[in-house]
Amino acid sequence: MVEGILLEGLIYGIMVLGVFITFRILDFPDLTVDGSFPLGAAIMAQLILRGTNLGLALLVAFIGGFLAGCVTALIHNKLKVPNLLAGILTMTMLYSINIRILQNRANVPLLRTETILTRVTEMTSGFLSQDWAILIFFVIVTLLIKFLLDLFFRTDLGMTLGALGNNEQMIITQGINPENLKLIGVGLSNGLVAISGAFAAQYQGFADVNLGQGIVIAGLASVMIGEFLLRSNRIVVLTLRVILGSILFRGIMYLGRYYGYLIHMTPNDLKLITGLLIILSLVITRLRGYRFRVKP
């Protein structure tokens, strides 16, 4: 049970890092995520079936997600559309695109095909159980991505992204075009989300166009749960708590799935529970008097 929760927490944690970038750092509530998550899964699955190099496939998934994010940012920048609407537009269009990528199917199974995960278990089959091998692999992958993000947000470009969400006027006064920064930030976020989707497809053994339903909300809930765990202004801690929040959120979902029947809950109620978790988090933060930057 614990390995399952940790695993899911880590795999989806990569997605939550992406959601954290848009919602918290850029102050750009981005709903593209619901489309870019299955986009990553679809690209990965299709390339695996074609026998493409697995590392390359993952890179293509990242680029696909990045471009999806750029489309949202472009719609918002050039047509002066509110960011929420821009995200919904891209997400809706991605649904059709994802089905095309999956060769006009809604679901593509990845059973008995070689994936990154089967490679990992093969390599470690002598000394580690399959579950532990995959768990350790994802600890390494997620922490590596977290570390790279920490590094990125220490660079001059990363810092300007941080300032953009807080004070767009300052960015303009410093002679930087905020539109370019949004392109980079939203792109990066969706690139991470697509990587998360690519791994989720390999872990679950299939890619499905509906994989992304409610992903943004799950991500946001994870971000907010994480914010109760640690308080800090240091990026190293902020990204850490995103991952911890993701694991805790998956734990709560796990409890709901396996022990929810005790209170007559079915798996269909999980979305309701996720929404209520967010509302609860908002209420608690209000009562505590923290100022949150979630804009309607």
Binding site: L151, F152, R154, T155, D156, L157, G158, M159, T160, G162, A163, G165, N166, N167, Q169, M170, I171, I172, T173, Q174, G175, I176, N177, P178, N180, N233
Partner: protein, 268 residues
């Protein structure tokens, strides 16, 4: 170096709320000018600054910086030569980031790459720059800017602006949101930076005595026009009474209450 040629600005054109905020204004700002701008609410002071900065693009007319036509350049492009401090102290810095991060972002204008430029030498340099503010900010480099007072933030914004060595600085009532003591500190700092970095300055103020005391040139705006432009000796010999008198002779009208037009609160 900065030239406005017959610049007009119309807001809400073609609607019942149409408003001609700037009427055929021409202005030549010379290098090292320190211009103070006064005028009543709605006279066009902020519109003038916004037009120069590029926040608004003019409805008619042309704007030149160093003989380059920048009329159609967006704000972020012009920001490479223009420094700006707003009335709201929160607009100059990012509250959720450390002081040193704010300085890193602002120490060079324009798009930034993937370099990590904040290192020990850089921190030392920032600390040296912060010391003269005499606010002990050099000891708070890792604090979030949101923890600073309005006066401290405005001082920081001024410093940031000065460090980038802009061609022109625009100060939009930058002391109006501060208490009298802090306002004086910021004004003193302003004059010091203007001297030290040899900045060309346009300062909008609500305070007539400040407008008279500071700078070498004074502009008075009314209903979208520059009605008075005093330089050198004329400006130096100005008093509050003489200024009010001049306004009346130009406009041939007396206001019921001059305080509405020009506040003469010396401690504002």
């Amino acid at each position: 170096m900065i030239r406005l040629e017959n610049v007009s600005m119309v807001f809400n054109k073609g609607t019942p709320n149409e408003n001609l905020a700037m009427k055929e204004v021409s202005l030549e700002v010379r290098e090292r000018d320190f211009i103070t701008v006064i005028g009543s609410n709605g006279a066009g002071k902020s519109t003038l600054l916004n037009l120069i900065a590029g926040t608004y693009l003019p409805s008619r007319g042309r704007i030149f910086i160093n003989d380059r036509d920048v009329t159609r350049d967006p704000e972020y492009k012009r920001a490479k030569y223009i420094g700006r401090v707003f009335q709201n102290p929160l607009l100059g810095t990012a509250s959720n980031m450390a002081l040193e991060d704010n300085l890193t972002i602002s120490s060079r204008k324009g798009f930034k790459g993937l370099k990590i430029s904040l290192n020990r030498a850089r921190r030392e340099y920032f600390r040296e720059q912060l010391k003269p503010l005499e606010m002990d900010l050099d000891k708070r480099m890792k604090d979030n800017v949101g923890l600073l007072s309005g006066g401290q933030r405005q001082a920081l914004t001024l410093l940031i602006m000065a460090l980038s060595r802009p061609t022109l600085i625009l100060l939009d009532e930058h002391t109006a949101a501060l208490d009298p003591k802090n306002a004086q500190v910021i004004l003193d700092l302003t004059t010091r930076f203007v001297e030290e970095y040899e900045l060309t300055t346009i300062m909008v103020t609500h305070n007539m005595s400040h407008a008279i005391k500071y700078g070498n040139r004074l502009l008075m705006l009314d209903q979208g026009e520059i009605i008075l432009d005093l330089v050198g000796r004329e400006k130096a010999e100005l008093t509050v009474d003489r200024l009010v008198e001049k306004f009346h002779t130009i406009r041939h009208q007396t206001f019921e209450n001059d305080e509405v037009l020009l506040s003469n609160d010396s401690d504002e």
